[in-house]
Amino acid sequence: MRGQRPSTGREMEVDMGLIVKTMARVTIPFIGIFGAYIVMHGHLTPGGGFQGGSTLAGAGILFLVAFGLKDAEKKVNRKVYSALEGVGGLVFLGAALLGFSVAFFYNTLWHNGPFFNGKPGTLLSAGFLPIMNLAVGLKVFSGFVAVAVSIAAFRRWRG
């Protein structure tokens, strides 16, 4: 829209009222625990980094929608979250490069590594799979939260 001043997002700074805020305050910790469980047990149970990261991002977006942009920006620094996404991707690539003496994506931690090589089915097993799940979970969570906060902060339309 040319010639029209873009909206500065003042409308999003109000929260959604007492009922929604109370329900969000109750449910956000449970959603967070569930998402962390999905990410941590990615190599044992259905789920993984992407699914758990999306669940955690759902908790963050629920906080943003229920409490408004002003409260969310106190907790979420958009630039830090954008940087954390890159860190997650780099950790993923680094875990893939660990077994580069044999092949890219060779699971050397599982075959002859110092740690993460416990009995199959325990939490500290499966070599680089927990590291990769944590990296992808961090990447997806921080990326989605950064995009949601960016959309809320820099909206250009009115209403």
């Binding site: 994506f105 199959p120 990769m132 959309i151 902060a153």
Partner: protein, 99 residues
């Protein structure tokens, strides 16, 4: 008139689908015997039997996604990174808006 033709053609399509997708003489979407399954889907069997030994995760899907098909996951992570970078870059205040 148009509606009747639409309903009749829908019925015709569904009936022909029932005929085509009948497993006895039409298309087959699954294998009947274990032998046939092992002949055509030996890759699935390899992942199921070797996944725990090769990669170590109980979740075979995670084994495939992060080890056997790791390049695919790298591409997916790159796509996600590019999408989010583009969204954040487009959604910041533009230079025209700042004055």
């Amino acid at each position: 008139m148009k509606q009747e033709i639409a309903f009749l053609s829908l019925l015709f399509i569904l009936g022909s689908l029932l005929l085509i997708a009948n497993p006895h003489y039409g298309l087959k979407f699954a294998f009947n015997s274990t032998h046939e399954w092992l002949t055509y889907r030996y890759t699935d069997n390899y992942y199921i039997t070797h996944g725990l030994k090769d990669v170590g995760g109980n979740n075979i899907v995670t084994d495939i996604v992060f080890d056997y098909r790791g390049y695919d996951t790298i591409g997916e992570a790159t796509v996600l990174f590019t999408a989010i970078a583009g969204a954040v870059a487009l959604l910041r205040p533009w230079r025209r808006d700042e004055k």
